[in-house]
């Protein structure tokens, strides 16, 4: 199997084009401008991970949505499953910044936490 593809490095603004080629004996990465770019390419090949940010439903909050964020990057292939799970979540106000909303989402070992505090709606 000989597949070849291109990545754009997102480590710094230089945005190097990275070329990844499976030579049969291993992955050959070219085009990186520094060590961090090489690391980024290696991680992207192994498992592309990103921070997941979303919102969940809030009851009695001074806003109807609570922004949330993953406590660490999550494999992108699990984003759909995570978002489906988060769409079922209902949180009650008040909420504190950093409060755990979902523990160990989709068995990733990563928590989903509140991105802000929300007070209870008055009245």
């Amino acid at each position: 199997m000989n597949d070849k593809h291109t990545l754009t490095c997102i480590v710094c603004p230089k945005s190097c084009r990275l070329y990844v080629e499976n030579t049969g004996s291993g992955m050959q990465i070219t085009g990186y401008g520094c060590k961090r770019g090489l690391e980024y390419a290696n991680e992207e090949i192994r498992e592309s991970r990103r921070m997941l940010t979303a919102t969940v439903t809030v009851r009695n909050g001074n806003l109807p949505r609570l922004p949330v964020i993953s406590s660490a990057p999550i494999p992108r292939r699990l984003f759909d499953a995570c978002l489906r799970e988060l769409s079922m979540v209902v949180v009650k106000a008040p909420v504190k910044l950093g409060q755990v909303i979902v523990r160990d989402i989709q068995k990733t070992g990563v928590d989903i936490v509140a991105s802000r505090s929300l007070t209870k709606r008055e009245g």
């Binding site: 754009t8 603004p13 945005s15 919102t55 806003l63 949505r65 964020i69 910044l97």
Partner: protein, 420 residues
């Protein structure tokens, strides 16, 4: 009708990142009465709707979501003796620093301020500012409006979306809309290069296989009550649609990400000198505007791409406002920093060499991308400073610092800043 009266040392217009940094710094610098006036129901500004992460890398060494970045400032404000008026709108600022504020709780309030910090941020360009032809149905929004609907108010703007413009907010909304299950047909950009940061092209479009059509624009809008579709076309180098390239796209939502403009209606009416390129006040190293006692910070001055810079500038403006309120003056001989080759604008535009005790941070935006470039600061033919850059691009601001000694070497001559 009765008008309430109030007197403060420093009045800050706008409770976003620039305004809160300014209020905290003014208090820290000894201003007794500091007032923040915010028109939304809470402090925080636009960052409250920016739920994605990446804020605070320079300021805190962390990649925070927007609301978490702001909560640090909101908490700090609440712990100090700073007066906050929310749901309140400044209707007028006079040249002698009287503010007329409309508040649902206090009614109309006349605030006399010894110093004022303008921190109103910026606004999005709308449909009428880009001359979009066609019918006028519902379903056409600016990217920031869609962001607020989805992330704060829980309103779904539509089901199938076309995005016009590749500014950062548009790219971020392409990703957000996809994540919540809305179909994003594509992003169309009239220029031959993307408007947003490269890492947003990768993380927001490429990650989700959303196509980006460069040198394309929307040439017609269809639908009566609700948007039913748009016609897109390729454009030539002069942005004229090319006949024969038209394509109809069925959609119920068009999102516009076609640029931001500093919001300066209050500044303009007060008589503050505005810069023709930035659209914001002309400022000196203290963020003082042309109007005595009126300072400016953040996106009201020029559109920044990092909130970290906005907070830094807010602190400078707040400290200077506190000093002015205490009776200190920053008058004296001034020199200008003028944009040279490949520089669109440089901030601050004016410095007062004799008052400088600390290094001054400058911000510029280039006209063209270039690798292995240098920022050159020159006084006549004398080179004052050279700062190497790995790469420069128009969407990414360049920051550099000049020390008081370096600035003093200019003598009384203006400085020219170029990037070559």
């Amino acid at each position: 009708m009765s008008i309430k009266n109030a007197s403060v040392d420093v009045a800050v217009i706008g409770g976003g990142p620039a305004g809160l940094a300014a209020a905290l710094a003014a208090k820290e610098a000894g201003a007794d009465q500091v007032l923040v006036i915010e028109r939304d129901f809470e402090l925080g500004g636009i960052l409250q709707q920016c739920v994605h992460d990446g804020f605070g890398i320079l300021k805190f060494g962390e990649r925070l979501p927007g609301p978490a970045y702001m909560e640090r400032y909101i908490d700090a404000v609440s712990q100090r003796d700073i007066k906050v008026m929310v749901d309140s709108m400044v209707l007028e600022l006079t040249s002698d620093r009287t503010l007329y504020v409309a508040s649902p709780i206090e009614g109309l309030v006349e605030v006399r301020a010894k110093a004022v910090v303008l921190a109103m941020g910026c606004r999005e360009r709308t449909r009428s500012q880009i001359w979009l032809p066609g019918t006028r149905p519902a379903g056409i929004y600016t990217a920031g409006t869609v962001q607020r609907y989805i992330n704060m108010e829980g309103i779904l703007p539509g089901h199938k979306v076309v995005i016009l413009g590749s500014g950062d907010v548009g790219l971020i909304m392409a990703r957000r809309l996809t994540l919540i299950g809305t179909e994003v047909e594509g992003v169309y950009e009239v220029m031959s290069k993307p408007g947003g940061l490269t890492r947003n092209i990768v993380q927001c479009l490429e990650d989700y296989n959303i196509p980006l059509y460069l040198s394309h624009t929307v040439i017609d809008i269809h639908g009566e009550k609700r948007l039913t579709g748009v016609t897109v076309a390729k454009v030539d180098a002069d942005r004229r649609p090319l006949p024969g390239t038209e394509r109809f796209i069925s959609c119920d939502t068009l999102v516009l990400s076609v640029g931001l403009i500093p919001e300066n209606e209050l500044s303009y009416d007060a008589g503050v000198e505005l810069h023709p390129v930035t659209g914001g006040p002309v400022v000196d190293e203290c963020m003082a505007t042309s109007l005595p006692g009126v300072f400016a910070a953040g996106n009201v001055v020029a559109v920044f791409d990092l909130v970290d810079y906005v907070s830094d500038i807010g602190e400078i403006a707040g400290r200077a406002a506190a000093r002015y309120a205490a009776g200190e003056s920053n008058d004296g001989p001034a020199i200008k920093l003028n944009p040279g080759a490949n520089v669109n604008f440089v901030l601050p535009q004016v410095v007062h060499p004799i008052h400088l005790t600390e290094p001054v941070a400058f911000y510029l935006r280039v006209k063209e991308s270039k690798e292995s470039a240098n920022v050159f600061v020159k006084s006549g033919s004398a080179l004052i400073k050279q700062v190497p850059q790995i790469v420069v691009r128009p969407p990414e601001m360049v920051s550099f610092v000049l020390t008081p000694t370096e600035i003093s070497r200019a003598g009384n001559f203006d400085l020219i800043v170029s990037v070559e």
